[in-house]
Amino acid sequence: MGGRFFRLGNALITYALALFIVATVGAVLVRGVPGIPAALKSPELLFALRLSLFTSLVSTVLAFFVALPAAYSLARGNLPGGKIVADLLRIPLNLPPIASGVALLLFFGTTRWGRALANLGLEFVFTVPGIILAQFFVNVPALITVLKGALETTDQRLENVARTLGCTPAQAFLRVTLPLIRNSVLAGLILTWGKALGEFGAVLMLAGATRFKTETLPVSLYLSLATGDLEALLATASLLILIALFSLAMFERARIKLDERGTIL
C-alpha cells in the first residue's frame, strides 16, 4: 500500500509543477502574443530583436570555436593540470551572470589590459562587442561541458586507426570524431544560442542599457518595465518565451536523434 501512495505523491508533485509552469508562462503568452504584430512595427523592438539575433549568433559561433578545442583537450585527458583547468573553466557556470558582468566591467574598464585593448579599438564597455563578450563569457563553460561529455563517449582508438590510415591529428578529428558527435554539437549550439539570446545580467553590467545602442530583447524588456509600458513588456516577454520554446524543441530533437543512434550502436 505504501508504494502506491509514494508513487501517487510523486506523480502529483510532478503534474502540479508542470501545471504551474504552463500556467505562468501561458499567462504571459495569452496576454502578450496578440500584441506581437503591433510591437514588431515599433522601430525600437525591431532594433532590439535584430541586435539580439546578431549578438547571440556571433557569441555562439565564437563560443563554439573556443569550446571545441578546450573540450577536446580536457576530454582526451592529456592536458597537464587538466583537472584544475577544468574547474577554472567552470567558474562562470556557477557565478550569477550579474557578477560575471561586474568582473568583466572591472577588467575591461579599469585594468591596464582593458585600456590597452580599448586603445587598439577593442572597446567592450557599453558597446555591442561588450554584449557579445558578456554572452560568450557566461555561456562558454556550459558548451564546453556538453562537448566534453560527447567527446568522452567517442573512442580514442578510432582516431588512432585514422592516424595509421594517413590522417593528421586534425584530419582524424574532423573526419571521424566530429561527425560522430555532430548531434551533441548541434544540441550544444542551440542551447548556447538560446541562452545568449536571453542573457541579461552580464550584458547589463558590461554593455549597459542604452536605447538603440545596447538594447537587446531582455534589456528592452527591462526598459519597458522601468517606463511602465506593459504592452511592450508583454510582447517582448512573449517573443523571448517563443524563441526559448523553439530552441528547446530543436534541442530535444537533436537529443532524440542522438539517442536513436545510441541504441543502434
Binding site: 582508438r157 588512432n160 595509421t164 590510415l165 594517413g166 593528421t168 550502436l265
Partner: protein, 350 residues
C-alpha cells in the same frame, strides 16, 4: 648496434614508456622481414601499449624504433604506413563498409583504388556487405572489414591487437587459418598480440612473452612452450608443475630428486634449483612397466573429454594429463596407486 639491418625488418632498442604508474621497460626486439611475430602475455602486460608505440601513437620516454634502415622513433603514425587492427575492430560507425575500407586512400588514384578494393573484397569475401553499416555486421565480418581497411593501404607492417579475442570459438577457428593465409599472401611483417597460447603456437613464427611491462622471453613457439625461462612464463604457457628440487651428482651424471623419484638431467647447474614440467609430458600408468617408474597416489581426477587432468602425490604434488582411453579396465580414481615416468627432456630448469 653493428651489422647489416635487413630492409623491412622492425627493431626496437631500449623502448621505454611510462603511462601513469605503468612502466613499459627497456624493450629490445628484432623482428625479421615478413615474420609473423606473436606478442603473448596476460592482460595488463603492456602488449597493446607496445603495439601502439610501434604504430607511433605514443611518444617514447627512451629508446628507438627502426624500420629497416629508417629510424621511425619520431615519425608520426600517418607517415609510418603501419596498419593496425584493434580487438573490437574500431570501425568508423558513421561510415558504411565500403567507406570504411577506402578511408585511407587518396582520392586521386580513383581507378587504382577501385581495383584494390575489388581485390580485397574478393580476397576477404566482403562483396555482400559493402553498403552495410558496421553495427549490423557480425564479429567475424567486422574483423574482415578492419583487415581490409588496413591492408588496402599496403602497409609496411601489420599490427593486430587481439584480433580473435572477441570472436566465438567457431569464427575464431575459421579466421586463424585465414590470418595465416593473408600473411603468406602479402608477406607483410605482422605483430599479433594475444593472451591465448594456442593462438601463438598456431600462428607465430616466433613468440615474445610479455609480463608486467617487460619482455621476458623471445623464441619459437616450441621453445617458449617447452623451455620457459622463468616460473611466471612457465605458468603462463601452461607448464603447471613449477617445483623446487636438488641436483645431485653420481658417477659423473646429474640427477634431479623430486619426492621419491629421481630423474637424470643434463644441466650445468647444481644444488637447489627451480624447474617446470608440462603436465602432458608426465606419463602415468596403472602398473609399473619397468623399474624406472615411481609410485604415486591419485589425489583428484578432473575429466576433460578424452583427457583427464590428474593430480598425483609423488612426495610432491604433480599435475598430469592422462589419456583415459589407454587405461582399459584399470580405474583412475582418487586413492588409486599409479606409476609415473618423467622423461629427462620434460624437465625445464630455470
Amino acid at each position: 648496434m653493428s651489422g647489416e639491418i635487413p630492409a623491412g625488418s622492425l627493431r626496437l632498442a631500449g623502448v621505454t614508456k611510462r603511462i601513469g604508474r605503468f612502466v613499459l621497460g627497456n624493450i629490445s626486439l628484432e623482428i625479421a622481414p615478413g615474420e609473423y611475430f606473436i606478442l603473448l602475455g596476460p592482460s595488463g602486460a603492456g602488449k597493446t601499449t607496445l603495439l601502439e608505440i610501434i604504430a607511433g601513437l605514443h611518444p617514447l620516454d627512451a629508446g628507438e624504433v627502426w624500420f629497416g634502415a629508417e629510424k621511425v622513433t619520431h615519425l608520426p603514425p600517418e607517415k609510418r604506413r603501419f596498419g593496425i587492427v584493434y580487438q573490437d575492430y574500431a570501425l568508423f560507425p558513421h561510415l558504411n563498409v565500403r567507406e570504411n575500407i577506402v578511408f585511407g586512400l587518396k582520392k586521386v588514384a580513383h581507378n587504382q583504388a577501385e581495383q584494390e578494393l575489388t581485390r580485397l573484397v574478393d580476397l576477404l569475401g566482403l562483396g555482400h556487405f559493402l553498403s552495410r553499416r558496421p553495427q549490423t555486421l557480425s564479429g567475424g565480418e567486422k574483423q574482415r572489414v578492419a583487415l581490409a581497411r588496413a591492408l588496402i593501404m599496403k602497409p609496411r607492417l601489420l599490427l593486430l591487437d587481439e584480433p580473435l579475442a572477441a570472436l566465438d570459438p567457431q569464427t575464431k577457428e575459421a579466421l586463424q587459418p585465414e590470418l595465416k593465409r593473408l600473411h603468406t599472401l602479402t608477406g607483410t611483417l605482422t605483430v599479433h598480440v594475444t593472451h591465448d597460447f594456442e593462438e601463438a603456437f598456431l600462428l607465430g613464427d616466433r613468440v615474445g612473452v610479455m609480463e608486467g611491462g617487460q619482455l621476458r622471453q623471445v623464441g619459437s613457439p616450441a621453445e617458449v612452450f617447452n623451455r620457459p625461462v622463468s616460473p611466471s612464463v612457465a605458468r603462463f604457457v601452461g607448464a603447471e608443475n613449477i617445483l623446487q628440487g636438488r641436483i645431485a651428482e653420481e658417477k659423473g651424471e646429474k640427477y634431479l630428486h623430486l619426492g621419491a623419484a629421481s630423474v637424470e638431467v643434463e644441466t650445468d647447474k647444481s644444488g637447489e634449483v627451480q624447474f617446470s614440467i608440462r603436465p602432458e609430458q608426465i606419463r602415468v600408468y596403472p602398473t609399473t612397466p619397468s623399474e624406472n617408474h615411481c609410485r604415486g597416489k591419485v589425489l583428484a581426477v578432473h575429466p576433460k573429454g578424452l583427457i583427464s587432468r590428474v593430480i598425483i602425490d609423488l612426495g610432491v604434488t604433480l599435475v598430469a594429463m592422462v589419456e583415459t582411453r589407454t587405461w582399459g579396465q584399470a580405474t583412475l580414481a582418487p586413492g588409486a596407486t599409479v606409476y609415473c615416468s618423467i622423461p629427462r627432456e620434460a624437465i625445464n630448469i630455470f
